[in-house]
Amino acid sequence: MHILLIEDDKAAAAYLTKGLTESGHVVDRAADGEDGLHLALTGQYDVLILDRMLPKRDGLTLVRMLRADGRDTPVLVLSALGEVDDRVQGLTAGGDDYLAKPYAFSELLARLDALVRRSRPAAQPPHHLRVSDLELDLTLHRVSRAGKPIRLQPRELRLLEYLMRHAGQVVTRTMLLEQVWDLHFDPQTNVIDTQISRLRAKIDRGFDRSLLHTLRGVGYKLDESA
């Protein structure tokens, strides 16, 4: 995808650009809010990564001006630790996302992916999801694999729905915690791992092919190809 990175820290920008390029993306970089806004308004980007604190024009102001101009390019806001306040959260309610520094690069990639797909029209019908032979009917709350019904708890249903809507994508533990449980906190131990393995036991056990994969140190992926 085509990414605009607006970040004034040269070293950080260099690492990010390198990482994103090596992950197969095309990156343009602006060093301040002014240039960033100009590029965002003139270029065609799939997603914007911008630092909260920028010289010349504050990151959040930039987003507001972009929106005022009718651009709905998704934005991922990077904020320094402890700056995640209601203003940022209000911003993310509009379909964007934020990430507090320091963050893991894999987290950034996963969130970019999720942001860009979210902004595209849904390929799946809204009430019936299917990945390989796993099916989820949201109106009837019914799950089946290869035609065999599977009984899930309400929370497991929501977890599965999120994974299926992001099938083929990497989702991280924090993303799940935020999106499925609506919690922003550090659970200390890997409670999410336990939840995932419980779900995996229900949807994968007894079938030849596993659908729910763990990517060590990164997160999970629901995918028909391993």
Binding site: L183, D186, Q188
Partner: protein, 463 residues
């Protein structure tokens, strides 16, 4: 304290203002007194002149010349002290009787009291300095002669002079008293303020343990000093806490940081194959992640203690949140063959920060799972009584001895029994900080057997 500062104090200014006001008031009252006294004196003088004139007129009609002359001399003699002068003259002003040498020019005999200057040469044997305006009564007698009676003013003037002197003395004394009292008050006020300023200055210079002395009078200054001292205590506690955090952060992060550095150093010593590099980098990332987690937890504690989460304040359905947390950690309890007993009163709301409350309950669950043996049951309770909501976590582990219960709430504190299990020693500190932020106290108790950790928050009104 110098005089200029003293004069600038509000007490002195107030005293000056009042002094001027009272002095003006006293001057007005004394002026009135003076005026009425002098009128009274004038009246008395006039009455005296009239009665003397009446007596002389009657005597002149009744007595023969010799007797009258003797009577006039007697009157004059009797009135010498009060400087009485009498003159009887014919219509042309030629003296017939009395002690004046002639009729004062321009004086009409209209039977009224006039203040007339009587020339010295009219009065025999009188020294010059007594020359003055005298009250004089002159009247026409039935036979065409004229009668003059005059009176010295000395006594009346003495009286008025005395009154004037007293007035000035009273004014001076009251002005002096007002000023003196004002200055005394100003000094007392300045002394109190100077104590405040002195303390503030030495605190400003870095001696944070200084406090403003109380006078013990329990007045508004003591109130102010008490409030300021309370504020200073809080600031000092925060500073100490901050310093402690910094020290602890330095201490706690130094080890993992140097571990990462050593790992990377050693990896670089000789050429290795790519899988060895990958492993080293992966290990470094894991170590750094642990450092970042510790760091984040510290910052969260610091922010909770500083109250900077207030922006995210709002109603929280604590029943639903506790149930969610129990469910989230329940899978882990199940994995450890434990029973997690969840007793939650539904529909209880509080006012607070949802994410922090989630973190606090999560940490309690996490601690219970970590520090009590596998297979033992756990219990999460949440119930409301009156306007209080109690959240309690029970385990059947080794518990914490009473003397350690305060201590373990501090940052980085880990009991010896817990050294081997993973963790940073920040979990319970964060719970305590979150509880304090929600005006609740974290309580650790004996669950007999095991540990019970609980806190009580105020229930949201109308819920």
């Amino acid at each position: 304290m110098n005089l200029r500062r003293l004069l600038r104090t509000s007490a002195v200014r107030l005293a000056l203002r009042y002094a001027l006001f009272y002095v003006a008031l006293i001057a007005l009252a004394l002026g009135l007194l003076y005026w009425s006294t002098s009128r009274f004196v004038d009246k008395q003088l006039a009455a005296g002149l009239h009665s003397t004139a009446d007596a002389l007129e009657r005597a002149r009609a009744d007595l023969d010349h010799g007797e009258f002359d003797a009577m006039v001399q007697a009157e004059l003699h009797a009135g010498r002290a009060s400087k009485l002068h009498v003159l009887i003259a014919n219509a042309k002003g030629v003296p017939l009787e009395g002690d004046l040498e002639g009729w004062p020019p321009g004086l009409s005999a209209d039977n009224r009291v006039h203040n007339v200057q009587i020339e010295d040469d009219l009065i025999p044997g009188r020294s010059e300095d007594e020359d003055a305006y005298w009250p004089v009564l002159a009247r026409r007698l039935p036979d065409g002669d004229r009668l003059l009676v005059a009176h010295g003013l000395d006594q009346a003037e003495d009286l008025l002079d005395f009154i004037q002197g007293t007035m000035i003395a009273i004014l001076a004394v009251s002005l002096g008293l007002a000023l003196g009292l004002g200055l005394l008050q100003g000094r007392a006020l300045l002394a109190r303020i100077d104590a405040l300023i002195g303390t503030a200055r030495s605190i400003g210079a870095g001696r944070l343990n200084r406090r403003i002395p109380l006078s013990g009078q329990d007045d508004e200054f003591d109130d102010l000093a008490g409030q300021l001292n309370a504020m200073l205590n809080r600031i000092q506690a925060l500073m100490t806490g901050m310093r402690q955090v910094t020290d602890n952060v330095a201490h706690d992060l130094r080890r993992p940081l140097s571990r990462v550095r050593n790992l990377l150093d050693v990896t670089l010593i000789k050429a290795r194959n790519s899988s060895e590099y990958r492993e080293a980098i992966g290990q470094a990332i894991d170590d750094l992640d642990e450092i970042i987690r510790t760091f984040n937890a510290l910052i969260e504690i610091a922010q909770a203690e500083a109250g900077s989460f207030r922006g995210d304040w709002g109603p929280v359905d604590l029943s639903a949140l506790a149930a969610e947390m129990a469910e989230l950690y329940g899978a882990q309890a199940e994995e450890q063959d434990r029973e997690l007993d969840v007793v939650i009163q539904p529909g209880v709301a509080v006012t607070g920060n949802r994410h922090l409350l989630a973190q606090a309950i999560g940490n309690l669950l996490d601690n219970a799972l970590k520090f009590s043996p596998q297979g033992t049951p756990l219990r999460l309770e949440m119930s409301a009584a009156g306007d209080r909501v109690r959240v309690a976590m029970r385990d059947q582990g080794p518990g914490i001895p009473p003397e350690e219960r305060e201590h373990v709430q501090k940052r980085f504190v880990r009991l010896d029994t817990a050294r081997t299990s993973p963790g940073s020693g920040l979990g319970l500190s964060l719970v305590a900080a979150v509880a304090r932020l929600h005006s609740a106290d974290l309580r650790l108790g004996d669950a007999g057997p095991g540990l019970i950790v609980s806190f009580e928050i105020e229930r949201a009104s109308g819920a």
